[in-house]
Chain length 316, copies 2
């Protein structure tokens, strides 16, 4: 492990999309907007703010249009929308999303379970979205596509690494600049991460590659470390560690943003995020979603938040 | 990070000592014995089975003698006892502990808070214990000493690395073979871990050095990875992630044994531990301690524990 370099690590905040999408307690549109505006005030430059999917499929995010129209657009912040299909892309463009994030699983079974179509049909839909964006004159919107279950599938198990690399290359050949490798149900391990990141970086620059880890089996930050060490510089994370996967019941969710930022702060890796503000924002989550969240740093505080010395110690 | 080597990683199980010591619900002696015997059946070769401290200080472990006398000694397993003072050492020897683990904090304030004495007095007490063991003919007991708060103190903050190295050297010069560096309240980060482990390995062989991490700020397994990469091979961990520190309220505990073993299994690093048995044992913990525990793998299952494919998928 090379601990000399201290290149910046870019955190894309996904609490308002991947975090909230499985919550059963309805979060008011105004509260979603306040969360996103709170995140941009912490210093994030990329926020996945919502998704444009069928309200039947993900009722928790059915107000994507109102959310995108309500947020205070902060200069320099890219507001991303998840759009699996062309219909969602049209809505996202109408709502002035800065970037569209398309998603397909490397696993056929997971894609059928999640998107209700084959990978081939998903890819054909991506082509439609690329053509839609290309057809808009002066469109400033950028494109990213996610390879879900890139490190393992809860139905199929291991995923062939060649398949993940070839999907990433196919995305690029379609004209999609950004690539995300997603460990959708937390099956990745650091050795696998280092290997796959190295392979994908032969085809995609570090500036265009995002890693999306879940902490389902407690390995989230270890995987970030391995990916960073292998050259990755962009990571998804969700405030409080919100999120999860309906096909992996009982598991914890996305890697926790404040735990990741704390790790970077302690290691001297710049993120541009204000950890103290972030912790304060995270502490509002339990009231918002109606349950405790899995993040640690919001409970334990930063290292520099020292505890008072017990009185009896002074007499020893 | 060098991901080619796959040298074995030795896990010392500390659930029955560091895990149980802060539990408020009384765990019956027979249940403690069953837990320890369950652990030795999973393949652990080192188990910190209990402590011999004042029953007023740690009432949860007041039955250390009965526990040591009740366990089924499995051949090849070293049963360790935590003994901060000479009186405890006498009790541990009478109970046939295989190894004594002494403990002092690198931080004067933490040592006064935890041990109610200065570091100088703690070290003098260690000398008494070394002489006690030396004075017993044919004594087969081995000695280990822990540097607590080696990576940070909740009262003092940063700990000077030179001080940690010099304490480790002082332990060795007293005739104590084993050294543990403990991140008592989870303040370590991977960069610091790599640096300090490298420095201490100049004075202590990897076979004699143990790392003890807490997951207080979510960095436990990332720190294991950094330490392993720097040459460390022995790690403490507690079933279910039990434990914690009274001076770091709200925080989670020791790194979770089954999460660590799962990481090693997935990375191809041998531990000699049966993960499936271990998960089954961990799932008995909530009933034993009266609350949910923080470990992830016992909730999510192993990667190879696949989920059934939803019926609707077959029609797509």
């Amino acid at each position: 492990m090379n601990f000399e370099y201290k290149e910046p690590l870019l955190v894309q905040e996904v609490a308002s999309r991947d975090g909230l999408q499985i919550e059963t307690q309805w979060v008011e549109t105004a509260d979603k907007i306040a969360l996103i505006d709170g995140l941009s005030a912490c210093g994030f430059t990329r926020i996945e703010a919502g998704s444009f999917v069928s309200p039947k499929a993900i009722p928790a995010l059915r107000d994507g249009d109102a959310v995108f129209n309500g947020i205070a657009r902060r200069e320099g912040v890219i507001y991303v929308a998840l759009v699996p299909k062309v219909k969602g892309a049209e809505r996202a463009l109408a709502a002035n999303a800065d970037e569209l994030n398309l998603v397909m699983s490397a696993s056929q079974t997971h894609n059928r379970a999640n998107m209700r179509m084959s990978c081939e049909l998903s890819l054909a839909g991506f082509g439609d979205i690329v053509r839609l964006v290309d057809g808009i004159q002066h469109a400033k919107v950028s494109l990213n596509a996610t390879v879900a279950t890139a490190f393992g599938c809860p139905f199929e198990g291991r995923i062939d690494e060649d398949r993940v690399v070839s999907i990433a290359r196919a995305y690029r050949e379609m004209g999609i600049a950004g690539i995300t490798l997603a460990d959708t149900t937390g099956m990745a391990n650091p050795r696998q991460v280092a290997r796959l990141v190295s392979r994908v970086l032969e085809h995609v620059s570090a500036a265009d590659l995002t890693l999306h880890f879940h902490n389902t089996r407690g390995l989230g930050l270890a995987n970030v470390l391995a990916a960073y060490d292998a050259g990755a510089r962009r990571f998804d994370a969700a405030l409080g560690g919100l999120g999860g996967c309906p096909f992996a019941p009982g598991a914890s969710g996305n890697i926790c943003t404040e735990d990741l930022v704390n790790m970077c702060d302690e290691m001297g890796i710049p993120t541009g995020v204000d950890l103290q503000k972030l912790i304060a924002l995270s502490r509002t989550l339990p009231a918002l979603v109606g349950h405790e969240v899995s993040g640690q740093v919001a409970k334990a505080g930063r290292n520099c938040d020292l505890h008072p010395v017990p009185e009896y110690v002074l007499t020893i």
